[in-house]
């Protein structure tokens, strides 16, 4: 039983992470396992703190049509425009009617650092708050800005699903195409721009790792027995989806087919993950792809490096009969980009599919469960046929998506 009668394919990708801008740079970094973790230095990231994370150093916006417009938008929006530009050109979207293109951006409250900086500036004189702030503070500004830059006039909205936002946005983009609302839909995993307030909160919660004796490079260790929590990263990705029929009619070459998906909530507020919910979403995504678990040959797990999250996830994968499939941890290299993570990791999966290799997992010295097909210190050769990508968000938001390399 498939989710959609029509085959939905991916025809364009864009990605911007601290390791580099663009598919090629990111693919090479992943396969080499190059990390960029250090004490973060962007304005608004530290206050009597030494938070470790991975920051984009330089953003090349030269490809964006109206570069000048980037001067007065938030950092999340700048990175979105640059990333969307890559996917737009990759899928050659300029030939599509603007009203048949949609834009769904995964993430909510993603401009926190910029808002904190602006609020600090006007704390003692709020009556001079810039008029721009009156509409910039809302995430919808991203939709307005990007749709103007690229002339997108179909559907568009931002959606919030915590760390599952990026995958949720992709599922909603696929559904928008499957339902005929638009012919092409762009899913954007939005850069979550954290300020020191969120970083302190996440650390206090026990979700985010603090350095405490570990060097920056060793802090992020998903599925390792000595993991300490997730490590934050900037990141953004864009994925273009359309029906197979539509892609073929304009000779677009698909990366893969989105063969099945599933998402649901746990009915559980707190950040702790629920085993039953994860098992259910994995099982449904595989079933909706028309597959059985033994046909999945690669898993891109959520794998944040959080103490409880990793433990529950590995149990869910074991219970779903997936011990045979290759599995690695993209966040061990890139870090956790929260709202963008799901989109970033689907792009990472597709880049591995294209390269015929799987990237290593950093710091997986002592896996919490040995009886899995881990890709450990070195990249390996493998042609992915059926991939399973997972994202779970605070608030009990579970998502799973299956990708098939051979477009039927």
């Amino acid at each position: 039983m498939n989710n959609s009668i029509e085959s939905i394919v991916i025809t364009g990708l864009g990605i911007t992470v601290p390791q580099g801008q663009g598919k090629q740079a990111v693919s090479e970094s992943l396969l080499k396992g190059s990390t960029c973790f250090s004490v973060m230095s962007k304005n608004g990231r530290q206050k009597e703190s030494t938070f470790i994370g991975s920051e984009i150093q330089e953003l090349n916006a030269s490809g964006v049509k109206s570069c000048n417009a980037l001067e007065r938008v938030s950092y999340s929006l700048k990175v979105a425009a640059v990333t969307l530009n890559e996917a737009w050109d990759d899928a050659n979207l300029s030939v599509i009617a603007p009203e048949r293109i949609g834009l769904i951006a995964g993430g909510s409250n993603f401009q926190q650092r910029e808002l904190v900086l602006r609020q600090e500036q006007y704390r003692d004189k709020p009556y001079y708050m810039r008029p721009n702030y009156g509409f910039n503070f809302m995430d919808g500004d991203l939709i307005g800005f990007c749709s103007q830059q690229f002339n997108i006039q179909g559907i568009g909205y931002t959606l919030g699903g915590a760390s599952a936002s990026g995958t949720l946005a992709l599922i909603k983009a696929v559904q928008a195409v499957a339902s005929g609302e638009v012919d092409v839909c762009i899913c954007l995993g939005t850069l979550m721009d954290l300020s020191y307030f969120e970083l302190y909160g996440l650390q206090a919660l026990g979700a985010m790792g603090c350095v405490d004796g570990h060097c920056a490079d060793q802090l992020c260790r998903p599925f390792d027995k000595n993991r300490r929590g997730f490590v934050y990263s900037e990141g953004c990705a864009a994925i273009v989806v359309e029906s197979r029929k539509h892609a073929l009619s304009r000779t677009a070459v698909p990366y893969a087919e989105v063969s099945g998906w599933s998402y649901h909530i746990d009915g559980h507020r707190n950040p702790d993950p629920q085993l039953e919910g994860e098992i259910r979403v994995i099982g449904n995504a595989i079933k909706n792809s028309g597959l059985s678990p033994n046909e999945i040959d690669y898993i891109n797990p959520h794998a944040t490096g959080s103490i409880l999250g990793d433990e529950v996830e590995i149990k869910a994968l074991a219970a779903s009969n997936l011990r045979h499939a290759y599995i690695n941890t993209t966040k061990s290299i890139l870090g956790h980009s929260l709202s963008a993570a799901g989109t970033v990791e689907v792009v990472s999966t597709l880049l591995q599919m294209r390269s015929g290799r799987l990237h290593p997992s950093k710091n997986l010295d002592d896996p919490i469960d040995d009886d899995f097909n881990w890709v450990r210190t070195q990249a390996i050769v493998h042609d992915i046929k059926h991939a399973l990508c997972l994202s779970f968000g605070f608030g009990g938001i579970n998502t799973a998506i299956c990708l098939h390399s051979k477009v039927s």
Binding site: E71, R72, Y127, Y128, M129, P131, N132
Partner: protein
């Protein structure tokens, strides 16, 4: 503060917000809209000028200003009122 000083502040903020325009085009007779400012750019320019002048004025008071000279006059009057 004389009108020229006020004009220079408005001019500076105009060039800040509309970074692509020529300095010479920002004259007292010019209107911000003609220079390429949309309504938000215009509000930004006025608000940043008010901040520099340490003057509080509701934005609505500038609704009828047709050009930069009118904006300067409104600010000058408010400064005189304030004493």
């Amino acid at each position: 503060m004389d009108k020229l000083a006020i004009f220079n502040i408005i001019k500076g903020e105009t060039l800040n917000v509309l970074s692509h325009i020529d300095e010479e085009s920002v004259t007292e007779a010019a209107s911000l809209r003609e220079l390429g400012a949309n309504s938000i750019d215009r509000a930004e320019i006025i608000m940043m000028a008010l901040e520099k002048l340490n003057l509080r004025m509701p934005m609505i008071e500038f609704a009828k200003a047709r050009n930069i000279s009118d904006i300067c006059a409104l600010i000058e009057n408010k400064l005189l009122e304030k004493g």
